[in-house]
């Protein structure tokens, strides 16, 4: 362990013909992404407080929470929209959420009513946290986040175009967009709430995925210069195989870093970490099965001709 490496993911000289699976890869990706888009519109994301607006109180009751008594007390106080949910590992944690109110003053009144109802139903309860966000604020945040994300895609497109060829840029950005849609589909299915923190998770996986694509593309670019006559299809396969240990190694470290967070990180972090884990798997496989095939389709004739005429 202190001198020589103990393991490797794949032996040297591995030659898996990834491009044979290009249609399968693209088809699976298309199905997943279209499915995710459908899920996005119906039933839609589980919008967290940041983007939905409203009130969330995290409380801890002295005895295991009696949900029906709590619900009754809240309804009696006129808070018919209150939703209750258990949280945390113990039985005493309850999340009370309320819909967005017409204005700030009404929101504060609702918070006070909920607290007094809680104290009536379960005296001695502790308010662990209060969060209230107006609906107008959340709409701005959402729009701003999307705009920034779009612009950063444009930036990636321009840089890769500048450093590589347009086929590489188009392949990378298309794949990134597909990755993002899948992450959204994953969130709809798992009901992980979509919040500002989630945007941070998506940003991280996009950053990670970009990294991965650039590394594979970089090897393709290098091999294009090195093997002037090799057909692009074989050349891409060769490049992926050559970088496979690195791809799996980097994915492995990031995956290992995120895994404990997903399992034991507590409610604040686990949603974030699950999205990360999903993103790592998707980002790694999309470099091989999406970004590379797109490059193959776009560049089959053009990339070879510009460098050297294909013999045969």
């Amino acid at each position: 362990m202190f001198t020589k490496p103990l393991f490797r993911f794949v032996p040297d000289g591995t030659r898996i013909r990834f491009m044979n699976g290009r249609f399968a890869g693209l088809a699976v990706s298309a199905v997943l992404s279209i499915g995710s888009l459908i899920l996005f519109f119906h039933p839609g994301l589980n919008m967290g407080l940041d983007f939905r607006g409203g009130v969330v109180l995290q409380v801890e009751t002295p005895q295991p929470a009696n949900f029906s008594a709590l619900r009754g007390a809240l309804a009696e106080a006129g808070l018919n929209d209150a939703a209750l949910q258990a949280f945390g590992t113990g039985k005493n944690g309850v999340l009370i959420s309320l819909e967005s109110r017409a204005n700030a003053a009404q929101t504060q009144t609702a918070i006070n009513e909920a607290i007094s109802a809680l104290n009536k139903a379960a005296p001695g309860s502790k308010i662990l946290s209060t969060q209230a966000i107006g609906a107008s604020v959340s709409a701005t945040l959402f729009a701003q986040g999307l705009e920034a994300l779009g612009l950063s895609f444009v930036m990636i497109l321009i840089y890769i175009w500048f450093r590589f060829e347009w086929q590489f840029a188009a392949g990378a950005v298309t794949t990134l967009i597909l990755d993002t849609t899948k992450a959204i589909g994953f969130m709809v299915l798992t009901r992980i709430p979509f919040e500002l923190v989630t945007i941070a998770a998506i940003l991280t996986i996009i950053g990670y995925s970009t990294n991965d694509k650039v590394v594979v593309y970089d090897r393709v670019r290098e091999n294009l210069r090195k093997y002037k006559t090799l057909p692009l299809r074989e050349l891409i396969d060769l490049s992926i195989n050559e970088t496979l240990n690195r791809t799996l190694g980097t994915s492995g470290t990031v995956f290992l870093a995120a895994l404990p967070l997903a399992l034991f990180g507590g409610p604040a972090l686990s949603g974030f970490a699950w999205i990360m884990l999903f993103g790592i798997v998707v980002g790694t496989s999309s470099s091989i099965f999406i970004a590379a095939p797109i490059l193959l389709f776009l560049g089959e004739k053009r990339l070879r001709r510009t460098n050297a005429p294909v013999k045969k």
Binding site: T3, K4, A148, V154, L203, T243, R246, G252, L269
Partner: protein, 525 residues
Amino acid sequence: MLYFSRLKTFGILLLCGLGLLLSLPNITPRPGWWPQAAPWPQVHLGLDLSGGSYLLLQLDTNAITKQDLNTLVDQARQTLLAARLGYTGLRADPANNRVLVHPLAGQATQAMAALNKLVTFAPGAGSASVALSTLPDGSIAIAIPSATRAARVSQAVTQAITIIQRRIDGSGVLNPSIARQGQDEIVVQLPGISDPERVKKLIGTTAHMTFQLVDTNAVPGQPLPMGDEELPFSNAPKESLPVFSTVAVDGADLENAQASTDPQTGQWVVNFTLNSLGSREFADVTAANVGKPFAIVLDGKIIEAPNIREPITGGSGQISGGFTARSATDLALLLRAGALPAPLSIVEEQSVGPELGADAIRAGALSLAVGFVLVLVFMATFYGLFGWFANVALVVNLILMLGILSVMGATLTLPGMAGILLTLGMAVDANILINERVREEVKNGRKGLAALEAGYKRAYGTIFDSNVTTLLAHITLFIFGSPPVRGFAVTICAGIVTSLFTATVLVRLLTSRWYVARRPASLPV
């Protein structure tokens, strides 16, 4: 590859040392001999870690406009009266930010000339206080220009910040942060407070106190006489009293207020002192109205309405409204700090109790530590000695990031910590790339040093492109994103820059030192 000039080696070590120095304040407490003025840069803990409250407040700008227009109506009335000009339909038009008045036929020019006195230029203001124009129906519009209104709002926000600051300081909360955001919003962050509801009340109360005479001639059940208003009691919202709208004494003339117990009744009261102007007004009003009830009004609600027993000339008085120790202390604090220029509403609120913060830290910190150790073990198993070099670089990277974030005064939240961990996971990517390259070179038949040289050189191109792409994407996010996204983007950018340094430069230094010392026959790849 092997050659590092003395200067360069020194520079690299200096940078690492500097990082350690800058991150120290986060680990050790501030020593007593450290000069007060010298900075002690620390990463701030976000609400989810420290507990506390975050409030986004919005100033009611419509209330300011309404106030200003009411003042303008008064001024217009007095001006026209002084010029002995008749008028009809004098009223505020809040929708258009103006006051309308219809002069009598044939007096339009004189009225215009008289009202022209209202147009003043405050020193430093870019626009006139008001602008006059004649409407097609012959009435005169006295409008507040939008630039003047914006300046007025901005001034009110500044004033509100000062007052909030005073109120919070008086309540004993440590390290509050109060900042303007946008046109009319104020962000207040209060780390580590235990009773958010109390602070919310302290901040959200306008605390405009007035003394108004009760109209004893008004008949209950009959419409209110002109110039009266019906105000509710603060402790009994269903009861109310008719009072004269004209403010007899304004709380703005208050000089001091203190909570204490009344020696006779033992109840909590608030004692106040007025300034000289207020004292004179108070003396005049009380002298003229002995025996009549006098209402003490806070934000449109009557606290109490005692009868005036004798003229109060000393300028000091007492409010007793059935207070508790806490409510008396808070009212005194509010009165001392002054009234807000307009009501504030809480648009967004986030409060985290100290227990939750502690739990979150424990679960989060533990899993972050486990993740970090897993990355170290992974690198050691898969890359052997070179993996250990990468691990050293990783620890240095963590220290450097902490240093940079401290200097920037960044706020660290739980997701931010997760972001840092993932940046570290990605930071070893550079070392993985280098090691894989060196290995390939060895397979291609290169020996020792030649393989190292070629491996590093080839890997640099890849490392450069992949990191610049990610960096550019996050810089874009930083420029165009909303504040929370920005914080995250900054963390990742800092991580990319430090990891480039540690993973390539520092690891290369370690590798070359090792190579020179050992001169190994083959590389451990």
